[in-house]
């Protein structure tokens, strides 16, 4: 029993961290643009494909196969996905910042279709699942008879440091201050001389790069990547951000942990829970929003006449 408990605890934290990283992207973008970037999950899930392609290209170009290339390829992928985010913002998403919320939602769902189809067509045999290696392997330590891999340690450390860096970035740097100002009130921020296009660019780069890391970790955790992983990644990350409270960073992390928690619980304790896990996740989402309509840590929206 204790073994099972620890094993599920490890699974929960790993998955929770990945969802939290995805949710942070949703929350950041919503905070600044007031737009739900529904294709964020798809953007994030391009990163495993870019990393695989980059690793192969590097291996061919240099001729020696080495695990170092994977690390380099991962860095390339994170940077590239950040740029993809910036380009998508410039070409599509920014145009919907003043549109009704539903229009932006529909447009970004369509954008998600485009991204998925592009992966499918551009990547060789993109329709098939592709194996994705564990970024790190080996056993770090043992707790109650359960072997905890280095991968889990990596996920936790990476998430903690990314969150710390993001907080430092938002609180301590001038650019972070501008992003916070723009998310507080875009018009007033502009009056204060903050160029909002730069803020959007920075926000999308940071959010997409963090999403890319989440995508890489997710593919590595599943051991495989598919062109349509982005749908579920997006839906779960979005749900995590919303039940945490859109625009709130601690909320996004909390939301990610809750979503992963219910998923792991359903898989462990409910018979046939693996196939019903989404039912439990989304029933929880409905339940949370029924009692906390602004999400758990969201600011209540006051409407003035």
């Amino acid at each position: 029993m204790a073994e099972l408990f620890v094993q599920q605890l490890v699974n929960w934290i790993t998955l929770g961290c990945i969802y939290a990283l995805l949710a942070i992207g949703f929350s950041l973008i919503f905070g600044v643009l007031n737009v739900i970037h529904f294709s964020h999950g798809d953007v994030a899930m391009t990163s495993p494909f870019i990393a695989l392609a980059a690793a192969q290209a590097l291996a061919i170009a240099i001729g020696v196969s080495s695990p170092v290339w994977l690390i380099v390829a991962v860095c390339i992928a994170v940077f590239a996905v950040g740029l993809i985010g910036v380009i998508l913002d410039k070409v599509v998403i920014r145009r919907f910042r003043d549109a009704p919320a539903m229009m932006a939602l529909v447009a970004t769902v369509a954008l998600g279709i485009v991204i998925r189809e592009l992966i499918r067509h551009l990547y060789p045999q993109g329709s098939n699942p592709h194996a994705f290696p564990r970024l790190v392997s080996g056993v770090a330590f043992e707790v109650a008879g359960v072997q905890v891999g280095w991968f889990t340690v990596l996920v936790i450390l990476l998430t903690l440091s990314l969150v710390a860096l993001l907080f430092a970035f938002l609180r301590l740097t001038p650019l972070g201050l501008r992003i916070r100002a723009a998310s507080e009130d875009r018009i007033v921020a502009r009056m204060m001389g903050i160029r909002d296009t730069r803020v959007f660019r920075a926000t999308f780069f940071v959010a997409s790069a963090i999403g890319a890391i989440a995508g890489l970790l997710f593919a590595s955790y599943a051991g495989v990547t598919r062109f349509d992983f982005g749908v579920m990644a997006g839906l779960l990350g979005f749900s995590a951000a919303v039940i945490g409270g859109l625009g709130s960073m601690p909320g996004a992390i909390l939301g990610g942990l809750i979503i992963a928690g219910i998923e792991v619980l359903a898989q462990t304790f409910v018979p046939d829970g693996a196939s019903y896990r989404l039912v439990f996740v989304f029933l929880l989402v409905i339940g949370v929003l029924l009692f906390r309509p602004e999400g758990l840590l969201g600011r209540p929206v006051m409407v003035k006449v």
Binding site: F30, I36, V92, R95, F96, A99, P100, A101, M102, M103, L105, V106, A107, V109, A110, L111, I113, V114, E117, L118, H121, V231, L235, F238, S239, V242, L246, D272, S275, Y276, L278, V279, F282, L283, V285, I286, L289, L290, P293, E294, G295, V301, V303, V305
Partner: protein, 391 residues
């Protein structure tokens, strides 16, 4: 007022010609695009369509003039519409694929009209229309397969079940709003789809097979339809059935739009707090919008189930709900005609893009994004309510 009317209103003769001619032109265009094969034909017709919309965009008085002539001779316009709809299958003949497309397009038109009550009239997002559609289809199919109920009895049963579901989704809508409400409806949609996918008694991912064809006065809908010696394929039965449903949906939409309910929904859209201050029971009208949506969607679902005689959870995914939503936005919110055009366009377009084989979804996505950027108000934007005069 009188002076304006006389200068802008077309005369009786011209109005008749316009009302008849435009409908026949529209039907001919629909016929051509349905029959079109090969990339260039489709591209040519789409270019023609785009040019038409560009003209309307540049010269809004054209739309006004045409609408005016339609309301000048309502009876003529109506009779022409009925004749066009009734005769269309005869023109199509034995091409079952075209008939199939038309049936699906009509069912989607009903779904889009259903969603229009919420998204268009009251500006309430609903990503669960696909789920209501699925509930309608599954309830009627299960009743028909397990209890041998006839199609005509399952229709109201499915509608009642889906309406209850609509009320259920409506409850959280009293508290949540905007994006949060959108997520609640997405969540309901996913839950329903996942349950259908996992329950044993719904057939799981394999779905339900062998739904019996409905029959009317001894005429089975699986048999070809013979009218005055003309033999139409069996799909024609369902074509007329779904056309009837579209008519019911249009009448419902029109009546609701001109009633106090439609007015209350529009008030909600304009300003919720102001509506509340006017004494409008905001919560009730929101829930009612969900219920009406689910009610109509269930009808469409029932016809769909009996038409294809095979349903699976894949027919009712989140993406189906998004597609319906896109139809409403592309057509023009709160504009009955626009919504129907949107539904037809977005049903036929992906099928015709099959000429581009594997790339059609990509094209579809790009077209939608491009459309939302270029013309966010939809093809036929909502019209300002006119008070006083009945027509």
């Amino acid at each position: 007022m009188g002076a304006r009317m006389s200068s802008e209103m077309p005369g009786f003769g011209l109005a008749t010609v316009l009302a008849v001619g435009i409908q026949i032109l529209g039907a001919a265009f629909l016929y051509l695009i349905l029959k079109a094969e090969g990339g260039w034909q489709v591209i040519g017709l789409l270019a023609l369509l785009a040019a038409g919309f560009y003209l309307i965009e540049k010269r809004p008085q054209i739309t006004e003039y045409v609408t005016a002539s339609f309301s000048r001779v309502p009876v003529v316009a109506l009779v022409t519409a009925v004749i066009v709809v009734v005769l269309f299958p005869f023109a199509v003949g034995n091409n079952t694929y075209v008939l199939h497309l038309l049936i699906v397009a009509q069912l989607y038109a009903v779904l889009a009209l259903a969603l229009n009550f919420q998204l268009g009239s009251a500006n309430i997002p609903n990503f669960a229309t696909g789920a209501s559609y699925g509930i309608g289809a599954y309830v009627s199919a299960l009743l028909a397969i397990n209890f041998g109920l006839s199609f005509w009895l399952t229709l109201p049963a499915a509608a009642i079940a889906a309406t209850l579901f609509g009320f259920l989704i409506g409850i959280p809508s009293m508290r949540t709003r905007d994006t949060y409400l959108a997520l609640v409806t997405i969540a309901f949609g996913v839950v329903v789809q996942q349950l259908l996918n996992n329950f044993d008694w719904t057939g799981g991912p394999n779905g339900l097979v062998g739904i019996p064809a409905p029959s009317l006065f001894g005429h089975s809908f699986a048999d070809p339809l013979v009218v005055f010696g003309w033999k139409l394929p069996s799909q024609a039965n369902f074509y007329y059935l779904s056309a009837l449903l579209v008519v019911v949906a249009i009448i419902t939409a029109h009546r609701l739009h001109s009633s106090r309910i439609g007015l209350a929904w529009n008030a909600l859209r304009a300003d919720e707090i102001a509506a509340r201050a006017q004494g409008i029971n905001v919560a009730w009208f929101k829930v009612l919008a969900f219920a009406v949506d689910a009610f109509l969607a269930a009808f469409a679902g029932t016809i769909y189930a009996f038409y294809v005689s095979y349903i699976s959870p894949d027919n009712f995914t989140f993406l189906v709900s998004v597609t319906i939503m896109t139809m409403v936005i592309v057509g023009g919110m709160d504009n009955i005609f626009g919504v129907i055009v949107g539904a037809f366009l977005l049903t036929i377009l992906p099928e015709k893009l099959r000429a581009f084989s594997d790339y059609r979804l990509l094209f579809f996505g790009i077209v939608i994004i491009g459309f939302l950027m270029i013309r966010p108000q939809g093809l036929f934007p909502q019209r300002i309510r006119s008070y006083g005069e009945s027509r």
